[in-house]
Point group: C2
Chain length 332, copies 2
């Protein structure tokens, strides 16, 4: 019989198939194979993007020319723009406002074909440092309440450009999903006086069966209430609310665990597409949120979301996180 | 500049691109083209499914043989099973229970290649009548709190079998998404003393610009806060909480508006995959929910859900519902 598991944070139920679990070879997923062509994110094509916002580059190179290691540019087709104010207004029973925010693209390296596992550790650290720098800059604009960092890798994960990149969006409100997690974490904190994520880390570290990788500062594991097969969370062991508050000395550990985790997934599922999302605390709010703990949620695109998920907000996981972790651990 | 719109029910924000809207030909979607092969849902293959639960069939034909018009069978790989009880239990900070429920498949017609628009009106009415009959039967089991009916059409929408079918799942709890809508509708009812869906119908009927089709008992329109391009809702004009309480005399109107709406979508987007979900009131609860109004949410698969949507629970709609409705209205 299937097992129902309840997410202690958002209250979501997941149906885990323990009776006839899928094996890795049962997943028919769409492979992401680069097609090439002219790429606005490659060296020499810097003029194809809007002028750069920031970059790490050789000291003798000029902005918007080659010679950069990491480059941040405005999204050419931004979902939101940083002009004017919200101007909230009604239309009968409906509410609307202006799309105030920012939408930036962090081009992760000059290599068109190199995903995170193919980069040097130092190169991955550069991506993280630049993501921190942009976050800390955007926080200064008091109109923004949340900074969302995410990565769509491969067509099946919604990437429209294949050159690896991370998107950075500043939003004028705390998004629904973040609010749900924050409310769930808050309830737990009120009841127990502890961060629920710290308790998850404690339980996972004791039980061990869902852990994939661990280093001094970070843990990578398949969450007990995985929505998707081979879903993975990467979390700092020490309580930190904001992604951009990760101390300098922990960045190397984050880079290496991220790189190794993705490398493992891609060894089992060659050319798989994936999304990952950085879940961090809201910004510019009234209170310091001591009960939220930043982390990365990584989701390989092995299945399609369909009517059941849309109708319920619940998920059916055809392989338990315990089994997923076992496969991932076994891969060298 | 993009426009932000707030869903008055679930509180979700949607970013609508009014500045550079997509045209129908801009969507690169995966076409759903039947491949054929041996199909367990076709005439003559009745023994390939578990024994049937119910059917409409010629009076001289035996169960589990040909001669049926609509056939309901247990899902061969059920997400949930109707044996035992929930047995809720804890595991440290996590909660789990047994997967008690049912998972049935309603095979909509003997025709492997006929989608709803290709059927006769009477055949579509048969599907609806059987969906009612199964719902009314499942309600009798007091362990079930919600009945979810949904349809995945085409591979991109998650259909694993191409012969058109509807899935019927009975759940031992009210799903998260239904709960959100119910809470939102309840808040509105407490404040205004009216059903929010009735108010939406009133406003849409007055403004007219998002309406696609209308008959005596039903309305088909692109909702003001569409999450997806060409999202469509079909709703009874009269307040009815439960899908299965739709009176006999309204079924013909429901069948014809459903058939015509899908026909229009498929004329613009040839062989498009889609999901639709029947949103109905929970069952076997303590109170009669006078503020919820059943309806269908229809979502053609024109885009991929990616990091932004996963991270926020918000959506970016590259074409406004007003424009979508205009295209749909124009199609004869």
């Amino acid at each position: 019989m299937a097992e129902l598991r309840r997410d202690p944070i958002a209250g979501r139920w997941v149906i885990v198939d323990n009776e006839h679990p899928n094996k890795p070879e049962d997943f028919e997923y769409e492979q992401s194979i680069p097609k090439g062509g002219i790429c606005p994110f490659c060296y020499g094509n810097e003029s194809m993007t809007p002028p750069e916002i920031d970059s790490f580059r050789d000291s003798h190179s000029a902005p918007n020319t080659s010679g950069w290691q990491v480059r941040v540019v405005p999204n050419k087709f931004p979902a939101l723009e940083a002009k004017g104010d919200l101007n909230r207004r009604g239309l009968g029973i409906y509410d609307m406002s202006n799309g105030v925010g920012t939408h930036e693209v962090l081009i992760e390296s000059p290599s068109h074909d190199k995903d995170i596992p193919d980069l040097l550790n130092q190169e991955v650290e550069n991506i993280i440092s630049m993501a921190h720098r942009r976050s800390n800059e955007l926080i200064k604009d008091k109109r923004f309440k949340y900074i969302l960092l995410f990565r769509n890798y491969g067509r099946a994960a919604g990437a429209s450009l294949e050159h690896p990149h991370t998107q950075i969006i500043a939003l004028p409100m705390v998004p629904k999903n973040a609010m749900e997690e924050i409310r769930g974490a808050h309830k737990y904190f009120e009841y127990r006086g502890r961060c629920i994520y710290c308790d998850i880390i404690r339980q996972e570290t004791q039980e061990k069966e869902r852990i994939i990788l661990e280093n001094k500062h970070f843990l990578s594991f398949c969450p007990f209430v995985s929505r998707f097969p081979f879903e993975i969370w990467i979390i700092p062991k020490r309580h930190v609310g904001y992604f951009s508050h990760t101390p300098q000395e922990e960045i190397a550990d984050l880079a290496s665990i991220l790189k190794e985790t993705i490398a493992k997934i891609k060894k089992i599922f060659v050319n798989v597409s994936y999304n990952f999302i950085i879940h961090s605390s809201p910004i510019n709010g009234d209170d310091d949120i001591e009960y939220y703990h930043w982390h990365i949620e990584f989701m390989p695109k092995l299945m399609r979301v369909a009517g059941f998920e849309w109708g319920t907000g619940f998920y059916i996981d055809p392989i338990s996180p315990e089994l997923s972790a076992q496969y991932l651990k076994a891969i060298k």
